[in-house]
Symmetry: C2
Subunit: 317 residues, 2 copies
């Protein structure tokens, strides 16, 4: 959004995340501009890492970088469980501001990265084409892996619970990198930790969305791990995804973000196709299959939101 870009020119990403008034303003921009049905807090999935003792930086044109990645058991002593109020109070404050401003107009979504995805960044120190170091540590260092994943679980559970206390109605767990694992590795090295978080959330009656990309071969396990809604990317048809996940779950997705950079006729026909696959089943949240691309025309976002409402209503008639 051009409104967002204006603010972005003046501040670094970290300044924007850590200034609750700015984060709140950015969160509200799309709610005011488009007919969207929810707000999602302006933050980053990696922010909990900083509170855990990792040196986190967002570098322009490069992305997030961790200055002190963890590679050995001897590094573990500097990784602590983050305290939501002490280390992530700025996110909680922003949630309070947005929640009060929204006043129930649309629900507010809080979020965090999933343990596996946080582990990828904490170990690699940034993005990676093959996540060699993460997988090698996972295979070779079972004790370190277990302790690290436990710290992520505790941090994320506490943070998401605090987000709900601060005004989030729903929380989303982003497992952006989970698609690099085989189903067998997911079962052995990840499942139990992710299940732990979703169990804890459920026990606190917190509604959660469990999102990952590249999950077409993992979906039934993801659903087993937990979440009320499973978020899917565009690499599987919505109907097939829902079949694998099971009808006890809601489903979120699944338009290719690139389609929204194409002419209107293209993204409308794709959105229609998705809504037709839903075939009136309750529990679908229309969304892009991953983050919006910077080159997306602002008008297209508004037009898509309107189209989804109109076409859904038409299908219901």
């Amino acid at each position: 959004m051009s409104q967002y870009r204006k603010i972005r020119q003046k501040y670094s990403l970290m300044e924007m995340f850590k200034t609750p008034e700015i984060a709140a303003e950015i969160t509200l921009q799309p709610v005011e501009a488009f007919s969207v049905d929810a707000a999602i807090i302006f933050a980053d999935i990696l922010l909990p890492l900083e509170g855990m003792g990792f040196k986190l930086e967002f570098i322009d044109y490069e992305g997030p970088v961790i200055g002190n990645p963890i590679r050995n058991l001897s590094d573990l002593h500097r990784v602590r469980v983050a305290d939501p109020e002490e280390h992530l109070g700025y996110v909680l404050k922003a949630l309070e501001l947005v929640s009060s401003e929204l006043n129930g107009k649309v629900p507010l979504i809080g979020f965090a990265g999933a343990p596996f995805t946080l582990a990828c960044y904490a170990i690699e120190g940034g993005s990676s084409p093959d996540h060699l170091l993460t997988k090698q540590l996972m295979y070779r260092e079972p004790v370190l892996w277990e302790r690290l994943m436990d710290k992520f679980c505790q941090t994320i559970t506490a943070f998401l619970t605090a987000q709900v206390r601060a005004g989030a109605r729903v929380v989303q767990i982003f497992d952006s990198w989970i698609g690099i694992l085989s189903p067998s590795d997911y079962r052995q090295y990840v499942f139990q930790y992710h299940q732990k978080i979703f169990c804890a959330l459920k026990a606190s009656e917190i509604i959660s969305i469990h999102f990952g990309t590249g999950t077409a071969g993992l979906l039934s396990q993801l659903a087993q791990a937990g979440g009320d809604v499973i978020g899917v990317d565009w690499r599987i048809s919505l109907a097939e995804a829902w079949n694998r996940v099971g009808s006890n779950f809601g489903i979120q997705g699944n338009l290719d973000p690139v389609a929204l950079t194409a002419p209107r006729s293209i993204y409308e026909s794709k959105a229609a196709e998705i809504l037709e696959e839903v075939a009136g089943r309750p529990g679908h949240i229309f969304n892009l299959g991953h983050g919006i691309l910077p080159s997306t025309p602002e008008d297209s976002v508004g037009a898509l939101a309107d189209f989804v409402h109109e076409y859904s209503a038409k299908l219901r008639r």
Copy 2:
């Protein structure tokens, strides 16, 4: 392999591809060193692009780059159908040398990139994180897309057929980037072209392997498009992949290449798991789910090949 690295120090990749004696020598190295059951010609999936009029370079630490990518209909005039003998004769000559040297010891595999993956490189000009330009051209320029894909189809069909004449017993089509498409886009923009190639190969009684990565949501369509064997990466269990593909097809895969950089107990247990999933069904080709990583210990490759033979034999008893 250290033998390979010694040659690589003296020549550029393109020199190695284009000198049939060198390409043949490299092809034979793993056959001589390990108990593998096939040889695959040393070449690159993108070589046909050069014969089609694209300026192809392999740049160290960067990968393949196309100096004159295609972006508009007005660029199409400089794209021609490559002639296998004229433009890719060096690959055919290498196949002849290897075939004569192998003398039937193990089958020789030839290969080429799939039209979609060639299109990704031809349009983006190299690797891309989101393939925005490729998808936008596909959505916006139906005439250009159709003509471009037709030229790829003709080039690849002729090239693979010539490879069989030169001594390849099997050909493999690598669709490395296909996993970025939604099932609906695959059906609309790719399926017909890929099917055309596999139909033509079948008509010539050529045995083919159809490989892609990130295909867990596309597998049934890939199999419908054709090929005798469907190659899968590690992001789906072998049993599930085979169920989706159907028992009329052979299947190739599916060990995560990273596992082969781990200690022996790790990759052996993963290989055993795959072979147990095969459960004695005929038509499985054990392979990594994608290319071998440069950091793989040479000894591990030999040990894995031996293990697969021994464990398969044990399961058959």
